[in-house]
Symmetry: C2
Subunit: 499 residues, 2 copies
């Protein structure tokens, strides 16, 4: 008995294989970050490259064209299958739009520029990287234009769309302008109030690494992470990788301060819980993947910013921190620890920024990368434009470019169009958390006793289980009753920092 596959089933089979190949790539990348000896870099790079080429060949296989056309004419598909087909079409269109030679040149230029960038950043020497960055920017622009033509998108949106499907700069810009107008005065108010409350009590280290590891693992378990289906390891850059059944998150610890490491772990745990909550029956299909970086970041910031930095959760966590490090006295009281975890300070570095000043860093980068792609800003003028923007948004002028336009890897390794997703994610997190609390008042109560199940239940149903079956905007409307905007984010900031 032979059964003939429908065109849609044929596509599902091919994308399942593609997905497994992608998962194998993920294991290779995790291993590279966590285990690989330095001497293995070249061999690993060759393995990764071979698997990526195979993946590219599979998605651009001419045979897919007929299957896609035929499946799109199939009237029997349900909404998830239709969404799946749309996601397949989108992935293929993006892969076909850019020719392999440009992909290769951009990858090589990005790698070379990234290597140089490490040096330039260490020396705070922007000039030395200008030619290399110009090359990357030009290739990124070529790629954006190719995608733009194929997908009928604005140049910048063609890049953004790769990280956040249907993300549009024209919709983001007014929201960011509004935040940019709101935040400086708001921050002044927060700082005045913070100063009036007196100085922080310091928690002096060192903090033994093993005690930090143990605390982080136990807090991950509190939040709902299942170590039978995942791991916590250490790497230079924290990340979340793996598959739902075997999620790998990483962090880094400092003996001087346990606080950022713990919050970093809870941030990555938020990413992990999203991936673990995606619908298992769609695990190998495009529609079953996370929708995009805005929702992904919303889930990490949900855990980190909304839940774990709340007064409710810190009340639960503070005694456990004291126990982990044998701390005692007023500095170790929940109130002081909560002040540490919600301390606001204007600074130069994005990744060290608190949630009040973070959007300014993102808005600056969003504006500058759009200008550089539109030829409104020359690469050589970037440090000046950076200083001006910092002055406007944060009232600071970086003393050198290491604390300025050299601080982030994104532009140097070719990830243009990514930055706005951080702040859109923060907005989405606030809006989702507000909706969740309205729907279930036990959520904040649960946090005070380390019970995340009410929150997780709401997220599973309203976010995770939806995967990519809806657009981000549709999902936000269904989950919160309103389109994604900054209202809830502002209300969250006001409530946490000025109430």
């Amino acid at each position: 008995m032979t059964t003939t596959k429908t065109p849609y089933q044929e596509l599902e089979g091919r994308f399942e294989r593609l997905s497994k190949l992608g998962q194998a790539l993920g294991v290779l990348q995790w291993d590279m970050a966590c285990n690989m000896p330095a001497g293995g870099a070249e061999a690993r790079s060759a393995q990764l490259s071979a698997l990526k080429v195979m993946s590219h060949e599979m998605i651009t296989d001419p045979a897919l064209a007929d299957f896609l056309d035929a499946a799109e004419a199939d009237q029997t598909l349900d909404p998830w299958q239709q969404a799946n087909l749309k996601a397949m079409r989108r992935r293929r269109a993006r892969a076909l739009a850019v020719d392999a030679d440009l992909v290769r040149r951009l990858s090589e230029a990005g790698s070379a520029c990234e290597m140089l960038w490490r040096d330039a950043k260490a020396k705070a020497d922007f000039k030395m990287i200008v030619p290399s960055l110009i090359e990357v920017r030009d290739l990124v622009l070529q790629r954006a234009e190719a995608l733009s033509a194929a997908l009928d998108l604005d140049t910048y949106d063609a890049l953004l769309d790769g990280y956040e499907p249907e993300g549009r700069a024209a919709e983001i810009a007014p929201v960011f302008d509004d935040l940019a107008a709101f935040l400086p005065g708001f921050t002044d108010d927060v700082l005045a109030r913070q100063a009036a409350a007196g100085p922080l009590l310091e928690l002096p280290g060192p903090f033994a690494l093993d005690a930090q590891r143990k605390l982080c693992r136990s807090m991950m378990e509190v939040v709902g992470f299942d170590f039978d289906h995942g791991r916590l390891d250490e790497s230079h850059h924290p990340f979340c990788g793996g598959v739902a059944e075997d999620i790998r998150i990483t962090t880094r610890y400092s003996e001087d301060d346990f606080m950022p490491g713990l919050m970093g772990v809870l941030h990555e745990t938020g990413h992990a819980l999203y991936d673990q909550g995606l619908p298992a029956e769609w695990r190998y299909q495009p529609v079953g993947k996370a929708r995009g970086m805005v929702l992904h970041e919303s889930q990490s910031l949900m855990m980190e910013m909304q839940a774990s930095r709340s007064a409710e959760f810190i009340a639960f966590a503070a005694p456990r921190m004291r126990e982990a490090f044998g701390g005692s006295g007023p500095a170790w009281e929940a109130d002081n620890i909560h002040r540490h975890y919600t301390w606001v300070e204007r600074g130069f570095i994005r990744v060290d920024a608190d949630e009040v000043t973070y959007p300014a860093h993102v808005i600056l980068r969003f504006r500058l990368e759009r200008a550089m792609l539109a030829d409104d800003l020359a690469i050589t003028d970037l440090p000046g434009a950076w200083a001006e923007g910092m002055e406007e948004l944060l009232g600071l002028t970086p003393p050198d470019d290491a604390l300025g336009c050299l601080q982030d890897i994104h532009w140097y390794d070719g990830a243009w169009g990514y930055f706005p997703t951080y702040t859109l994610g923060a907005m989405a997190a606030a809006q989702l958390f507000a909706a969740a609390r309205r729907a279930n008042p036990q959520i904040p109560e649960g946090l005070t006793v380390g019970d995340f199940t009410p929150l997780m239940g709401w997220l599973r149903e309203n976010v995770h289980q939806k995967a990519s079956s809806r657009t981000t905007m549709q999902l936000m409307e269904e989950a919160t009753g309103a389109p994604l905007d900054a209202t809830a984010f502002k209300a969250h900031l006001a409530s946490r920092y000025l109430a």
Copy 2:
């Protein structure tokens, strides 16, 4: 300017990709053994299976047939290219010979039988596994017959050839018969002499695991392992995986006894040094791989049995062991430690056997698996035949099947035809070591001061760098001046245990 590839170059390109896919599979398997949480097993199995199917499709791609024919007509190929082509043809012929359905059925039956075997072994209950083992044996035989027809080999040789190309049972049987006749009397002599020398002085534990890890790493460095291109980890079953630039070996430790763990590490290091010494310019081609399991095992036993258990090396290592565990007194003297590491005892378990009694275990399995495949021995009669063989070869009768025919995984998971390579490897190790010492008398001297460079230099030139450019027999003749036989192995045993 476009260049057209020759058929041979086209094949090299395809096998390079196949090799990288195989390396990716290796990373996934290493991770599965060393890191994967239990809940990730199903997802990992799906990833492995997808990559294996892709690999199978690449090697059986009909397009390869014409390239192989055309390349074989190419008169310009040098001997390495010709050997490469031959190895490609062999890999493809083996892949094509067995249809995908049989491969799948055997893989599933082997997995199911292996699961059951764990239980049967724990309960020492052979009966419960009989139907499952019969199914595996029948499928293995089907596979052997399919390979036999396609490759024009005897049934058993068709399986053996998968582990040791050109290995032939008809040549092995008389060598094993000769050893089987020689070893019982020889073992009696060794035991008498050993008893006359008095009892061993025990080294009482426990031995801290961290001290064992540190000792093992330092001994690996002494032997020549480069940690910039490899790692040492822990797994349930020790193995050596990875690629030359990034070799991953694993071991297991026991707090009660550090000796087996250390020797296990040196054994795997021997495997690793072989892989690291293969010619880099051929790293992605079949001709650039290890020749087969006989030479691979010869390299691990070279390091473990020939070099590391020698009186010369123990003289160097004993003070380091004392230092690692804070030992003192006569038990920690080199002479007593050397007696431990060369202690001979007839026992039931192959993996615990010393080098004098080990061949008896292998010869028993070789005879029995040939008989089972030839229908000369029914699976239900295996325990009886096992007991008879043990009595003949070692003068022992196992009290139960856990100490008998249930002890090894090989038959249950489908690896029939593998066993003889262990003892052929031991013979090859002895023969190569004897030739190396003749060629460079500084080799034993080097061992007394922990200098393995003279030995490694000879192995690199005469074994590792040859890769698969020659058959095992040709390589042995070139390296030692004689075909592989048991002469040197017997001489080694006589010199170490009776001199």
